[in-house]
């Protein structure tokens, strides 16, 4: 059930009316209905995977108190290992098994071993990376004594399966969400209105910007790069950067908006990522819930900058981030590239400190140039991401060097929307709050008219229900 579907609209409105009317003062019944709604939402994608999410929930729910109650460090580690092994094992089977088998086949044939290991016939359950990580964050937090085990299985199940963020995040931490389920969250007076404003913004980002960029520029460019001129391919790379940002941050806006209207708050996942002045800075602005997960649980677990080799720790963390996105050597290379850049920035920072130099403070044109440089680094490394494979990325790169090709099929709609996306991204942060305030002040009739106009506008520019890019992860 995609957010853009009519089915979701009906499902959401029914859930919202139930929650906001007779369930509002009945927190237990409200959570029961929300859990039922979340499982129904997931079954709409594929009912067979309900067992998977329930299984992961039960494993970590049972192990949580065992970790907390274990008297020895060894027992704690054992229970944690079981939680990680079982959860990540399930993830590995569904997401990475064929990648390993395929790589093994290549390796064996390199050694002249005849015969091929058969690939598994498995479907990738939607959102598996998100809810697996969410579940293990719970046992990891208990292990680190950052949170207490939750007594209610229903609350824990709802934390894992809460439908607004189930299939593409943000990855919610137990310490952030479980207290809200236990009634410790006080919502703002205009939470419903700002929630709706977020939903509207999310749809505009997804349908009116991301999907239009995909249709007019990105998909053609990446489908047949050799057909087009280097300039069109360059615009294709830039457009993809905005497509993936608008797509994913649009999803996050909708998820946060839907959660807020239901009375819950999800964390911010993006902070103007293309304003980053370094690759490290980018990862503090992009998919914050995921990058902070890897920072807290993997990078710090490996020793961070205090124990062991910091560069090795950084590289391993970024390769893991790359592999989290997908099973393929292109994702390994993507993580390795970003890890390499972050290591270089750290090394350079160390050298400057050793030489008694301060961190560069960018302003004006220098700041703009630095932002543009980092944007290019991000955009070009995403060739590995969008190319589909290492070979696809290399082919795109080759086509960019074919200056004899002059085919430049950019149309007005594509260019205008790309420009809007850029302006949208670089507007001052305060404007975001201003337009929400303006929306909240409008009379309800004008708000209703705005919603209908937007629906028709989105229908006009929509090229069908293109799935959100991050659903595949």
């Amino acid at each position: 059930m995609s957010f853009q579907s009519f089915h979701f609209l009906v499902f959401f409105l029914i859930t919202l009316v139930l929650i906001r009317t007779w369930l509002w003062k009945r927190p237990e019944a409200k959570k029961n209905v929300l859990l039922f709604a979340s499982y129904y939402f997931y079954m709409c994608w594929d009912w067979r995977f309900l067992g998977l999410i329930v299984g992961i929930t039960l494993i970590n729910y049972v192990i949580g108190p065992k970790i907390a109650g274990a008297t020895s460090s060894r027992a704690k580690k054992g229970w944690l290992g079981l939680s990680l092994g079982a959860s990540l094992g399930i993830l590995a089977y569904f997401k990475y098994a064929n990648f390993f088998i395929d790589s093994m086949n290549v390796l064996l044939s390199g050694f002249g071993v005849e015969g091929q290991l058969p690939l598994l016939n498995v479907l990738l359950p939607v959102g598996i990376s998100f809810y697996t990580f969410q579940s293990i964050s719970y046992t990891l937090d208990i292990y680190r004594q950052r949170t207490e085990p939750v007594s209610s299985l229903r609350d824990f199940a709802l934390f894992v399966a809460f439908f607004p963020q189930l299939v593409a995040g943000p990855i919610v931490r137990a310490s952030h969400f479980l207290p809200q389920l236990q009634g410790e969250h006080k919502e703002e007076g205009n939470a419903m209105e700002t929630g709706f404003a977020l939903i509207i913004r999310g749809f505009v980002k997804k349908v009116a910007i991301a999907d239009v960029l995909a249709l007019h520029i990105v998909d053609p460019a990446f489908a047949n790069p050799s057909d087009y001129s280097p300039l069109f391919l360059l615009i294709g790379i830039y457009a993809y950067s905005y497509q993936v940002y608008m797509d994913f941050s649009g999803y996050t806006d909708i998820a946060r908006g839907v959660a807020r209207t239901l009375g819950y708050e999800l964390q911010i996942n993006f902070n103007r990522p293309y304003k980053a002045i370094s690759v490290s800075d980018f990862w503090q602005r992009w998919h914050i819930s995921m990058s902070s997960f890897f920072r807290d649980y993997l990078y710090f677990g490996l020793g961070g900058s205090k124990y062991g080799n910091v560069y090795r720790n950084l590289l391993l963390t970024f390769v893991a981030i790359g592999v989290w996105h997908g099973a393929g050597w292109n994702f390994v290379a993507y993580g390795f590239c970003h890890g390499g850049f972050v290591c270089f920035e750290r090394w350079r920072r160390g050298r400057r400190q050793a030489a008694g130099l301060r961190e560069p403070h960018y302003r004006g044109v220098g700041l703009a140039l630095q932002i543009f440089l980092i944007f290019n680094v991000i955009a070009f490394t995403r060739l590995l991401f969008r190319g589909g494979s290492l070979e696809g990325a290399v082919n795109y790169g080759h086509a960019m060097l074919d200056f004899s090709n002059t085919v430049f099929p950019v149309d007005v709609v594509g260019l205008v929307v790309l420009l809007v996306a850029v302006v949208f991204h670089y507007t001052p942060d305060s404007w975001t709050y201003d337009w929400k305030k303006v929306y909240c002040k409008l009379p309800s009739m004008v708000q209703g008219g705005l919603i209908v106009t937007l629906v028709f506008l989105l229908v006009a520019v929509s090229s069908g229900q293109a799935p959100f890019i991050y659903f595949q992860f």
Partner: protein
């Protein structure tokens, strides 16, 4: 007012405004074409499904009235005059079989559609004979529907001559097949927007230019890659069914308004509805796929020794002759009727069998 109550009110306003817009469009459709969701409520839909024949037909013996179009139907549910129960010895029955182009989309009255115009030309040429031209075209019909129509409804009429203008409806099937690619996923049933919602359809249809790309789309189908076997089989099935019953037939290839020698903008404008209904093809792909289907039609008809009228080459393109990508305007309908009439004259079709070797099987 603020908070949940205000949000509820704005949602109610949004739904209300949407319903007002939808109601206005349904009313407009009812006034113009006599077809809207109100017909469903009064059980007077434009089309009705005939359980015995397993065919979608027009509402029988009805005058479906709108300011832009009046469709008068006979007791069989065809946009045709009533046929005499008994066929006279010298009577001639000519049946025009097809889909919406034959039925007469974009023609305001029965008198303007191809079958009526053809009948007028034939009456003029053969004043001493009763000639009935029966319009056996129903919008949306594919080849299988047309074969069923022929076998179940037309054969009992004892036609003397069949003219087959099949239309391009089968092509949209290629796009539907592509969207069903993830058959291995087991989803729970999903609610869909009601198909009668005019507001969504109107916005989608009239904003095609916003979704028209200068570059080739990634998800378009290469016409060379499509499997035409099913189309060929369906064409063969109808041709052999007609041949088996030894009914003379003239097979017409399908014309379109947009031509590859026109300026690109004109082609894009003229092909809008075709690209809307066949969204998995771009303009170049549509040209190719239409031509390939016409080639099969002509080649198979010749294999069965049926004469072929190359309508795709004979009907000029453009707005003058077409209401949209493939449906004839009033002038286009008359032009097509004249082309058929001349071809029938050339073949001496109404003076003897069209195929001299009609009984010869391929």
């Amino acid at each position: 007012m603020s908070g949940p109550r205000k949000v509820a009110l704005s949602v109610v306003w949004a739904l209300g405004l949407f319903l007002v817009a939808e109601f206005a469009l349904q009313l407009r459709s009812q006034i113009r074409y006599g077809a809207s969701v109100f017909n469903v409520l009064s059980a007077e839909t434009t089309y009705q499904f005939h359980e015995d024949l397993q065919l979608k037909l027009l509402r029988p013996s009805a005058v479906i009235q709108g300011s832009q179009a009046v469709i008068e139907t006979n007791s069989m549910g065809l946009r045709s005059p009533e046929l005499p129960v008994e066929k006279g010895k010298s009577d001639l029955r000519v049946v025009l079989l097809g889909a919406s182009s034959v039925m007469g989309t974009y023609t305001r009255a029965n008198e303007e559609i191809v079958s009526y115009r053809l009948e007028a030309y034939l009456d003029e040429a053969f004043p001493d004979r009763r000639i009935d031209v029966i319009n056996a075209g129903i919008a949306g019909y594919g080849l299988q529907d047309q074969r069923r129509m022929f076998e179940e409804l037309i054969v009992p009429m004892k036609p003397d001559l069949l003219i087959w203008y099949s239309g391009f409806n089968d092509i949209s099937g290629y796009c539907r097949k592509q969207s069903k690619s993830d058959a291995t996923i087991r989803r729970l049933p999903q609610l869909q927007l009601p198909s009668w919602l005019l507001s969504i359809e109107l916005v989608t249809k009239n904003s095609l230019w916003l979704r028209t790309t200068a570059a080739s789309k990634q998800d378009v189908i290469d016409p060379e890659s499509i499997n035409l076997e099913r189309y060929r089989n369906d064409v063969d099935a109808l041709l052999s069914s007609v041949a088996l019953r030894k009914i003379p037939m003239l097979v017409a290839t399908n014309a379109r308004s947009f031509r590859s020698d026109m300026p690109m903008q004109m082609q894009l404008a003229l092909s809008e509805t075709a690209r809307y209904y066949n969204s998995c093809f771009d303009l170049a792909g549509l040209h190719k796929v239409y031509d390939r289907h016409n080639d099969i039609l002509a080649e198979r008809a010749q294999a069965y020794n049926f004469p072929v009228l190359k309508m795709d080459q004979l009907v000029p393109g453009g707005r003058e002759y077409f209401g949209d990508a493939t449906h004839f305007s009033v002038k286009g309908s008359d032009y097509v009727a004249r082309l058929i009439f001349r071809e029938l004259q050339r073949l001496h079709a109404l003076e003897g069998p069209v195929r001299t070797a009609a009984e010869k099987q391929p």
